[in-house]
Symmetry: C2
C-alpha cells in the first residue's frame, strides 16, 4: 500500500496552505512558520501507518525513501544539551555532532525531555558507513532503534566502486520495499529524482543571488534555511525557497559591507550556528558554505537521462566528503567556489576531533595559498567556552583581509 | 624478470645462516640478532633492483607482494621521536601511530636522522582505506612517496563486499605486476599463500604454549616478536619462531605468577611496548593479545582449496578490525580468547584519538561483563607523561583481580 503517490510533492507544489515565510526581507529564521505544520504532518502520517525514516548523512539517497512512500527527517544533532547524556556511554574525545545525535536518541528512549522531538517520530534509522565515529555510533544505536547501514566504497575513482555502491543501493531498495510494503517502480524513482533535482535547482538559484556584491542576505540566515531542508518536506522546502528567492530578487537588499567569507568544512547541524553567527557579528558576510549544510547538499544533480538507479549511485558516490579518498574534487571545488562567490577569505571549520576534515585542511590550505586566498582554521565543539577566543581570532582574520 | 622465486622462502627454509636467537629462554628481545642480517638483505635486494614495498596495515595481502617477486616491510611507527616533526603538518589530536609513521617519512625525505632507517628503503607505499586518520594521512604521504591505496568495503557481511574487495585485489595485482615487471601466475600466489599459512600455523603453536599455567614466556617478549614479523623476511621469522617454540617446549619455564591478562585493542607498533611492559612490571602476565600485533595478524588461514584470489579476498576482508561494521566477530572472538587463554582480566588498549577502537570498547565491555570478566580501559599515546598514572590504575586493577 502506497499512502501517497507524491510524498515529496513535485506534482502537488502549492503554496496556499503555507504561511508566507517572509515577514521582512532581512530575517534570521526564514522558515520557522513551517515547523509546527511539518510536525503535525509527521504525526498524522504516523497515525496513518506511513513509515518515517531517520537519516544522518547526505550519502543516503532520499529519493529511494520517498519513492517507497515513506517520509524522512535527518537527525544530525547540533545542540549541546544532549551531549552530557551521550558522554555517559561514548568517549568524550569524539565529534560533538555524533555525541549530540546519540544523546538525543538515548534521551528519547528514556522518555526524556532534552532531546529534539524528532527522534521519537522515526520507525527506523538508515545510516551509512562514512566516518569512524558515526560507523561505530550506529552499532550502539542499533541496540535502541532499528538501524540499517548502507555501505560505501571509499575510493570513488576505483573501477568497481560505482557497481558496489549500486549493489548497496539495490539492497536498500529491497529494505525500503519490505518496510513500507510498496514496490518501487522505476517511474516512482524517476519522479523522486526529478523532485530532488527541482529542489537542487532552486537552491542553485538562491545561492546565485549571493554572488551579488553586496549579497542580499546574510549567510547565517541561509545556514538556518539549509538546516531546515533536513526536517521540512521537499514540498514545503521548495515553496519557502521560491518565495525567498522571489523576495530577494525583487527587494532592494540592505547594504552588506565587510569582507566576503566562505565557510568550508564540517556540517553545522540545526542548533549549531556558533561560528557562522560570530563571523557575521564581527562584520563579515558569508557568501557561500562548502559543507553538507551548504553546497555539498545540492550542487550536483542526478542525471535524468540514465537508468535511475545507476544515475543515483553515480551522483551520490561523488559527494566530495572527507571520508572519500583521494578527495581532489573537494579541493578544486573549494577553489572554484571561492572564485565564483568572490570571497576575500575562507574560514575552514572543523568539528572537534573530526579527523577527516581536520587532516584534509592541509590540502585545502595549500590549494588556497596557491590562489592567494587567505584561510583561517577553526576547530570547535558545541560549547560556549571558546566563543571569546574564536571571536578574537576572527577579528584578527577580518582585519588582515580588509 | 622475477629476481627470486621464493622470496618468502617456503621451499628454502633453512636455519644455518641465522644465529640462534635463544641465548636464554627468558629474554625480552628474541629475534634481535636477525635485524642487521635483514637490513643487509634489503640493501642488497635494492641493489639488484628488487622492489621493496612499505605497508601500514594487515589488510594489504603480503602474498601478492611476494608473489610478484617484491619484498615488503611494514612501516607503522611506534616511536615518539618523529611525532614533533609530524605535528608541524598533522593535527595534534590524531592517533600517535599515524603521527609517528608520517613523521618518519617526513624525516627520511629531508635526510633526517630521527626516523626509522626502513622508510628510505621502500620504492612504494601500499596503503589501504581503513580509518579516517590513515586514509587522509596517505594523501599527504602521496606527495612524498609513491603511494597506492587499496579500497576496502566496510560491511564485510554485505552480499557484494567480497566481490568488490576481490576487484580491488585484482587491481592491486596489476599494480604489482607493473611495478616488478613479473606476471603473477596462480601457482606463485598459491606458493605464497602456503608460505603465509605456514607462518600462521607456527604462530598458533607459539600462542598455544601461552595457554599453559604458568605460561613459559612473558607477553611483553612475545609482543616484541610479533612486532618483528613486520620487518623480518617470512623465512627469518619462521626460523626464529620454530627455535623459540622448540626451546619453550623443551625447557622448564620460570614460574610466572600473577593474574593472567589479555590485551585487546589497537596495535602496538615496534617501539611502543609501554602498556605491555607496565602490566608485567606490576606483576601480571600477559597470555594473549587481541590486536594487529597479536591474534588478528595470524588467527585465520587462507583456504588453500579455493581459487587463490577469492580465498585471499575472503580471508583478508574478515579481519575483525574496528574499521568494519558491524564487528560482531571481534566481540565474540575476544570472549572466546579470554576463555581459551584463561585470563583473569582484559586490558582494553586504545591509541589516543582512535575513534574506532575507542567506541567499540563499549560493546566489548558489555560482552565481557556478561561473562564476568573484568576489564580496564587504557587510552594512551607514545609519551611518558601518563606512565605513573597508568601504573597506578594497573595496580588497582590487578589488586581487584587477585
Amino acid at each position: 500500500m502506497k499512502p501517497e503517490m507524491t510524498r515529496s510533492g513535485l506534482r502537488g507544489d502549492t503554496t496556499d496552505h503555507f504561511h508566507c515565510p517572509q515577514g521582512t526581507h532581512d530575517r534570521n529564521d526564514y522558515f520557522e512558520e513551517y515547523y509546527e505544520d511539518r510536525l503535525g504532518t509527521l504525526h498524522e502520517e504516523r497515525g496513518k501507518g506511513v513509515k518515517i525514516v531517520g537519516t544522518f548523512c547526505l550519502f543516503v539517497p532520499d529519493e529511494i525513501i520517498f519513492a517507497a512512500g515513506a517520509d524522512r527527517i535527518i537527525l544530525c544533532g547540533g545542540r549541546s544539551d544532549t551531549i552530557t547524556l551521550a558522554e555517559q556511554s561514548l568517549p568524550r574525545n569524539i565529534c560533538p555532532l555524533i555525541k549530540s545525535s546519540f544523546g538525543a536518541v538515548l534521551d528519547a528512549c528514556c522518555g526524556g525531555t532534552v532531546s529534539c522531538p524528532h527522534v521519537g517520530l522515526v520507525d527506523v534509522v538508515v545510516a551509512e558507513a562514512t566516518c569512524d565515529g558515526k560507523k561505530k555510533m550506529y552499532e550502539l544505536l542499533a541496540a535502541r532503534v532499528p538501524t540499517y547501514v548502507l555501505d560505501l566504497p571509499q575510493r570513488p575513482d576505483s573501477p568497481d566502486a560505482v557497481a558496489y555502491y549500486l549493489s548497496e543501493i539495490r539492497k536498500f531498495r529491497t529494505f525500503m520495499e519490505d518496510l513500507t510494503g510498496s514496490r518501487i517502480r522505476n517511474e516512482d524513482l524517476e519522479r523522486e529524482i526529478a523532485s530532488a533535482n527541482e529542489t537542487r535547482k532552486i537552491l542553485h538559484r538562491l545561492f546565485a543571488l549571493r554572488k551579488r556584491d553586496p549579497p542580499p542576505v546574510r549567510g547565517s540566515a541561509i545556514l538556518r534555511v539549509m538546516q531546515k531542508q533536513f526536517f521540512l518536506s521537499p514540498d514545503q522546502f521548495r515553496t519557502g525557497l521560491r518565495i525567498l528567492c522571489d523576495n530577494l530578487e525583487k527587494t532592494l537588499p540592505p547594504t552588506r559591507t565587510g569582507p566576503r567569507i566562505m565557510i568550508s568544512g564540517c556540517p553545522m547541524a540545526a542548533g549549531n550556528t556558533k561560528v557562522a553567527d560570530l563571523i557575521e557579528q564581527r562584520g563579515a558576510v558569508i557568501t557561500v558554505e562548502e559543507s553538507c549544510t551548504g553546497t555539498r547538499a545540492f550542487w550536483d544533480l542526478v542525471d535524468e537521462n540514465k537508468d535511475p538507479w545507476t544515475a543515483l549511485a553515480e551522483r551520490y558516490l561523488h559527494i566530495p566528503c572527507a571520508c572519500m579518498t583521494p578527495n581532489d574534487e573537494r579541493v578544486s571545488r573549494i577553489v572554484d567556489l571561492a572564485k565564483q562567490y568572490r570571497v576575500d577569505g575562507v574560514v575552514y571549520y572543523t568539528l572537534q576531533f573530526c579527523h577527516g576534515y581536520n587532516i584534509e585542511r592541509l590540502r585545502v590550505q595549500k590549494a588556497l595559498k596557491e590562489e592567494k586566498i587567505p584561510m583561517l582554521a577553526i576547530e570547535s565543539d558545541y560549547g560556549d567556552s571558546d566563543t571569546g577566543q574564536i571571536g578574537v581570532r576572527i577579528d584578527a582574520f577580518l582585519e588582515m583581509l580588509s
